[in-house]
Symmetry: C3
């Protein structure tokens, strides 16, 4: 998926992309079969959201330069109303997936981890049956020494 951060003073203002990875974690009581959620069901819920953005440009509607260009093409684009940081992407998935997991009564919590690279990751987690004010954002990064 491609994106850019127009406000960024470093390289992130340029059009670039990542092989994003997302981890979806659901928390709750296991059912009679000993599953919080069958991995196959988890995939069926999450996959449409992945397909929507796969090989697309994730474009903040306030980014007039890219928005106007892409609207004149047939290139795949998904418009959103937020700067496309890893934190905001994780929050975006958290909110939409929380809606989708809500009907599954034994699921009470959700954690979304979005990695731009192996070393840069954002995480949003929270209960999905209470006020979203309890959600919490993390950004983390790995460092190596030898």
């Amino acid at each position: 998926m491609a994106h850019r951060l127009p406000f960024h003073e470093g390289g992130c203002k340029n059009i670039h992309g990542h092989s994003y990875q997302m981890t979806v974690e659901v928390a709750g009581e296991p059912d009679a079969n000993g599953m919080v959620l069958d991995y196959f069901d988890l995939v069926s819920i999450v996959e449409p959201f992945i397909k929507e953005i796969d090989h697309a440009f994730l474009c903040d509607n306030s980014d007039k330069l890219i928005r106007d260009f892409l609207k004149g093409t047939s290139l795949k684009v998904v418009f959103v109303d937020f700067p496309t940081t890893a934190e905001n992407i994780a929050q975006w998935f958290f909110e939409r997936l929380a809606d989708n997991f809500m009907p599954i009564k034994n699921i009470s919590g959700l954690r979304i981890i979005v990695s731009e690279t192996e070393r840069t990751t954002a995480e949003v987690s929270g209960e999905i049956r209470v006020s979203p004010v309890d959600t919490r954002l993390f950004a983390h990064q790995s460092h190596q020494t030898s």
Copy 2:
């Protein structure tokens, strides 16, 4: 380790196996040497549980088909009283390891992460000195886009 889920409507009802990975996390105050627990001691506590199930079939006692077959062979098998989902395996290790860590006074919490594959993982964590009602099950999965 091999297993199957007889109730499963997908491929998991067949006899299959995984190169399971488990992460054992102990929480607590470090001792005078600055260790929550010496990794060597952690290994000595956990290894017997690993050896018990390594290259075995983990068989739910209610799975009559496999149970009756394996009882007539000399093949390695471990019988348990639960469907052998990653969630239940993590819970099983949590309970038995909690008993083993209990005598170590500075350890207060335990987290067990069982991965069937790099992308499918179950997690149980909780305090080991309070009611097990506080434990909590997670199942998570990684998704990739490019």
Copy 3:
């Protein structure tokens, strides 16, 4: 980075080293640009601490044997006042990085994960705007079966 644990009854009393990896996780509310903290800013805060210990011997001041030897050489050494376990190294980074993140008002929490190997890790996490008594130490280890 090299170290040893003089008190250790196993191999850790010998001079050895690790390709340590550290993950720094900051928690808080995202700013107007949708970032808890720009990864570039995170790097600029953390990198000096990495450079200080990269290819150095981390020497506990109570380790007279190594301390006296290294003081007579020009070899890179960093002296600390604690046994150089992964737990203590994580705590050391937690305290110093907490001081550095404190001026950034939207950051409320910090987690430091120090890995000696892919399988042995120590973790310290806590709020950085409350008493350090709330921090919590984890040590974890991965096990594999096949």
